[in-house]
């Protein structure tokens, strides 16, 4: 429960911090950190417009998408406190409940019948598919490392014994940050600011969404970011008491948001055909983690 509330709290300002960082990096003052959330609330108070050619799928998808993410967040523990839902192997459900939400977004994009949205949907499906192995290899390695198979057990028993295991934590952070960037369609894979439909991935899928639905989709992005932030925080929090772990949680979220902002300010996005190569890097880094774990456990050599 604690973890759920903390993630919701962090999600209110996460995108705001990213936007503010980008503004400062380009020499502007930028909007307040609450501005993206205010925009979302404004959208939630509006009605939605639906095209005559779209069906119930298009109307349901944004809500299902948001719900799937809320459900996934419910599984994330905070230090020694388990998530609302916790059972052995819950990380598999975590991955597929997110995939379920994404599946609905993809079929809703196809439902509009727009050639742009079909293009965006195919790109999103491809990149999500390529990200999947990286996530499972990481979680699998941690399961092997700790001997447990649920988020709560893995994170509460995770402690870095020999020096080499710190490297595992560091690499896992790197992979999780990049998974978050890809899953949220941020730089360098996609550019959330672009107005060019032909280069968009996630943005082009939601061209037809408006009002309340669009608010849901935007809020889902904020939630997803703080969800991955919480996973990263869990890698390091361990079993420390709440008065220490809560501030550390927010510090880690803040650093994550600033890092995202800086990354987006100082580089150009990749060419679309280079994206799969880039995403495969994640898989290979997670394989490194896997071999690192084998090495630590002495099952290797």
């Amino acid at each position: 429960m604690v973890s759920f509330l903390l993630i919701i709290l962090a999600s209110f300002v996460f995108i705001g911090v990213v936007v503010r960082t980008k503004s400062i990096a380009s020499g502007r003052k930028g909007p307040g950190v609450m501005q993206p959330m205010k925009d979302i609330i404004r959208l939630w108070r509006k009605g939605a417009v639906y095209s005559k050619t779209s069906s119930f799928i298009f109307q349901m998808a944004p809500t299902i998408y948001l719900a799937s993410i809320l459900l996934a967040i419910a599984m994330i523990p905070h230090g020694k406190l388990p998530g609302i839902i916790s059972f052995d192997g819950d990380f598999v459900m975590f991955a597929y409940i997110l995939a379920f939400g994404k599946f609905w977004m993809i079929i809703s994009a196809l439902d509009t019948g727009s050639s742009f949205e079909g293009m965006g949907a195919s790109r999103e499906a491809l990149y999500s598919m390529l990200v999947e192995p990286a996530f499972f290899i990481i979680m699998g390695s941690f399961a092997l490392f700790t001997g447990y198979t649920s988020f709560y057990d893995i994170f509460s028993t995770l402690n870095y014994g020999p020096y080499i295991s710190y490297l595992i934590g560091l690499l896992a952070t790197f992979v999780l940050v990049l998974i978050a960037m890809i899953e949220n369609s941020r730089m360098p894979v996609d550019d959330p600011k672009t107005h060019l439909e032909l280069t968009m991935i996630h943005e082009v899928m939601i061209l037809d969404n408006s009002g309340f639905d669009l608010g849901n989709i935007f809020y889902a992005t904020s939630l997803k970011f703080s969800m991955y932030g919480a996973l990263i925080a869990n890698l390091f929090l361990g079993a420390v008491p709440l008065p220490i772990s809560i501030p550390s949680f927010f510090i880690i979220q803040f650093v994550f948001a600033v890092a995202v902002g800086i990354l987006e300010s100082f580089m150009a996005r990749f060419r679309m055909s280079h994206n799969p190569q880039f995403i495969f890097i994640l898989t290979s880094v997670s394989l490194l983690i896997f071999f690192g774990v084998l090495l630590v456990l002495g099952k290797f050599i």
Binding site: A25, R28, F266, F270, R271, S273
Partner: protein, 500 residues
């Protein structure tokens, strides 16, 4: 075939332009162009006289600085062989003649509508009936972009035929704006009305078009152009080039999502356009260039301001350019993207940056100089050879630096402007004048023909975009569809310059 030879901004009598039978006209002009990359057709248009249509062909020779003009008279509705089959430069010109005068080119490869102007021959044709190229295949899909632009620019439709993410074919169709600039030119007889029209041919090339018109009108009315006017026109042209090129660099950065470059180049463009405001009261330089006079003479105080401005501009520009051209993520996006080869640009007949990016040296500032070009300084065209987005970006960087040098050279000697006695602009009778100017985008060509009473009979405008849109369509072939925006931005062509 004999032809009339004239120089840029020279006025001749219409009667002196030789008239040929169509076969001689066709063969002679094609012979002039054959295997001569330094020659290209700058204008090819028809003038209607009752049921007769007189077609003028103007071919510019870059080495001898001459322009060869010949003509031919056709009956309305006649069917003739086309130039296009042998020389693709004429493709759009012939489509325009076909659209306006119902002349049927029997072997033209694709005689589809050109711009749906109001003066077209067949009034029943409308944009909705446009015959798009179609491919019958289950594997390929079509993506249509526009005509309503997602941003704030003008209407145009882009039809892609793609194999997955790869573009097989792009067809660009314009003609959604029906402004009728050329007809308005004849209807409006006041000079101020005409200048205002010219200023609005293409909002981003105000200086280029007004300079072409002013040079032409002064020549047509046989008045001399004073040093101060030549000075201000040359300076304004170079400043416009700096401003738009810098803005383009910012926009290219935005398209590859490079935020730092977008912010810095965008900021650098502002002081240059603001200088136009300081000088002439308008950021787009509207109202600055006028035939025969200048309402805002340039003085020492402005020169001092401009030099200060360049000093601040150059240090930031150099730093940002260095950063931009050494960033791997930027280079991987722009290198080998959107290539148009030398042979292709020659065949299309591109002008300006779109020619120089592939090693085809076409620059009016050197080949047909006007104003202070070839006088205060001899222009050296900058050439790149790869024809990709990288070449176009490099060309912009180098041209900005070159233009700043030219401006500094111009500022060494500022001529005094003496307001002339009330001069009357009376165009000569039965005259023909052709004016060429190198705008920032490329060659601008204006042609005027007067009737027996000295009234304008025809005013023909050709914006560089006329040729260059085809180069964009060629450049994206076999590229990814997600690279289209950056290719498009690196050309930065004009919709309204095409739609007139």
């Amino acid at each position: 075939m004999n032809y009339l030879t004239l120089y840029n901004n020279q006025t001749v009598s219409v009667k002196d332009i030789p008239e040929h039978g169509y076969d001689v006209f066709l063969e002679g002009n094609l012979q002039l162009l054959k295997n001569r990359p330094e020659r290209h057709c700058v204008n090819y248009f028809g003038v209607k006289n009752n049921r007769e249509i007189r077609i003028y062909c103007c071919i510019a020779d870059d080495l001898t600085h001459k322009i060869y003009v010949s003509s031919c008279v056709l009956e309305e509705g006649s069917s003739i062989a086309s130039f296009t089959v042998q020389n693709h430069n004429f493709e759009k010109f012939e489509r325009e003649i076909h659209e306006n005068f119902d002349i049927n080119f029997t072997d033209h490869p694709w005689l589809k509508p050109y711009r749906f102007a109001n003066n077209k021959y067949n009034k029943d044709l409308n944009v909705g009936d446009y015959p798009f190229y179609k491919v019958e295949s289950d594997e390929l899909h079509e993506v249509g972009v526009g005509p309503i632009h997602a941003g704030i620019i003008e209407p145009g439709h882009f039809r892609f035929i793609c194999n997955g993410e790869q573009i097989m074919h792009l067809e660009i169709q314009l003609g959604y704006q029906h402004r009728g600039i050329e007809e308005l030119f004849i209807q409006k007889s006041k000079l101020i009305e005409r200048v205002t029209l010219v200023e609005n041919i293409a909002g981003d090339t105000t200086v280029g078009h007004t300079t072409a018109f002013s040079n032409l009108y002064e020549s047509l009315c046989e008045t001399s152009t004073s040093d101060a006017l030549n000075f201000s026109r040359t300076l304004a042209q170079e400043l416009e080039r700096i401003a738009i090129h810098t803005g383009d660099l910012a926009a290219i950065c935005a398209d590859i999502a490079y935020q730092l470059g977008n912010a810095v180049f965008g900021r650098l463009r502002t002081p240059i356009v603001n200088f136009f405001q300081e000088w002439g009261g308008n950021r787009l330089a509207k109202g600055l260039i006028r035939p025969g006079k200048i309402n805002f003479p340039f003085d020492e105080a402005l020169a001092k301001r401009l030099l200060e401005l360049f000093k601040a501009y150059e240090s930031d520009f150099n730093e940002m350019v260095e950063e931009f051209f050494s960033l791997p993520s930027v280079l991987s996006r722009i290198e080998r993207t959107g290539i148009v080869t030398y042979d292709e640009v020659l065949e299309i007949g591109t002008v300006g940056i779109s020619a120089r990016m592939s090693g085809l040296s076409r620059d009016i500032r050197l080949s047909h100089p006007c104003n202070l070009y070839g006088n205060t300084f001899i222009h050296e065209p900058l050439l790149k050879h790869h024809g990709d987005v990288f070449s176009r970006v490099q060309l912009r960087r180098d041209e900005i630096r070159q233009s700043i040098e030219y401006c500094k050279k111009l500022l060494e000697n500022i001529p005094q402007f003496h307001k002339p006695e009330n001069i009357l602009f009376v165009p000569g009778e039965e005259k023909f004048t052709l004016s060429l100017v190198e705008g920032w985008r490329g060659e601008i060509c204006h042609c005027a023909i007067t009737d027996g009473e000295g009234n304008l009979k025809t005013y023909k405008i050709k914006d560089p975009s006329h040729h260059n849109w085809m180069a964009l369509a060629q450049s994206v072939r076999n590229n990814e569809i997600s690279d289209f925006p950056i290719c498009n931005k690196s050309f930065n062509l004009s919709y309204c310059g095409h739609d007139l």
